[in-house]
Point group: C2
Amino acid sequence: MTKHRPSILITNDDGITAPGIKVLIELMGELGDIVVVAPDSPQSGMGHAVTIAKPLRLDKVDVYDGVEMYQCSGTPVDCVKLAVNKVLHKKPDLLVSGINHGFNSSINVIYSGTMSAAMEGAIEGIPSVGFSLGDFKQDADFSATRPFVSAIAKEVLANGLPLGTLLNVNFPVGHKIKGLKVCRQAIAKWSEEFDERVDPHGRPYFWLTGKFLLNDKGEDTDEYALNEGYASVVPVHFDFTSYNAIPTLKNWNFNL
Amino acid sequence: MTKHRPSILITNDDGITAPGIKVLIELMGELGDIVVVAPDSPQSGMGHAVTIAKPLRLDKVDVYDGVEMYQCSGTPVDCVKLAVNKVLHKKPDLLVSGINHGFNSSINVIYSGTMSAAMEGAIEGIPSVGFSLGDFKQDADFSATRPFVSAIAKEVLANGLPLGTLLNVNFPVGHKIKGLKVCRQAIAKWSEEFDERVDPHGRPYFWLTGKFLLNDKGEDTDEYALNEGYASVVPVHFDFTSYNAIPTLKNWNFNL
């Protein structure tokens, strides 16, 4: 009996040369036939942006020996759309995005290009997982994440994912990860802060900065798990309806 | 007794000169003290993108007489962050985004800069509403939407919104809107399609296009309401956790 070798699409938001995506390329190459379609430049914080006012470029590149790779001028979501439509011409068996340099836990799921790529995969009906490590540095050490990434990918390949669900997996920094916890998204936000400067021509400009504010004491959250030294796995969906709020709104009288 | 005049922040994703935002400026000016902070260029499809790798510009402009207006070089989400932190120096009583030229119903909520601005407002704790009309044209006729926009804004100013909830309001095209329906987000997706062309230098490029595919026969959805000639109001939240999937995942054995 010939075993079916799964097809695996790999993308990210840090760009095709980021160290994090190299880890996925190495690990997924052990599990299936891989194709990489990733941004040609860093796309952190792009959220679910798509490129509609500009044309897109897609170029085959030869970065790692024997790996089919394409770089795209667009966003992570553009990469997924182009990969399915113009490279694979089919849905892959698995989409993995990352490994992101920096956490995409709690509210970061909303801003993250890494997670938006995985969400776009799920919208397309592809079992999709976004992986992130809580270290922004270019030389972040991904070694402790490797067995977890492989185990999760194997499990998703074996079982699929519930319809309309993707996974947001985050890893704490360090040499030892205690285990894996299935969690909910913690309630948190970034305080908006801006570093105001003046350019050489006398005009002001702003750099977006901010502090992460955790407003959640729950022990079932991704932030709690990460702080305890565990990897967090949050199942995510793309039905943003606040069902709890529907009865309240139905009672409103709009005087129309 | 002096009646408190509410402060209202207005933004959009079609850019500060779009006809849709002018409608909000006119209508909100009747309800409170308005400030406009909007992108200096069209930002459709920007999703929840934030600008972290480039500095931002924020310039006071004088477009409509007597209206305090600022244009920002960033995304709709950047506009909201800058408005709260550098213009208002407080949370406004209401944030309205739009009126978008084009539907943001169903899955479009994910790609929409208009809705992401409203979502950012909700993350900040501001009662926030995104408005959209199903007409992409620059000369779209917003007249039928006006009483609905005012009624919804008044209701939100009077009652607030449930914590962590924003509203996604969509209007059908036409001279007559039958009424207003509180709905859930329809299950739908865009088929990814690309228009492939060759530039004058012989290199290929792609334009993102696509067809809207509605996979939902429910009569409680935004798409159903809009097709029936009603305005749709979907309460939206930013907890993307798929709670239904948590028990399934907890049963997985990751062999770690």
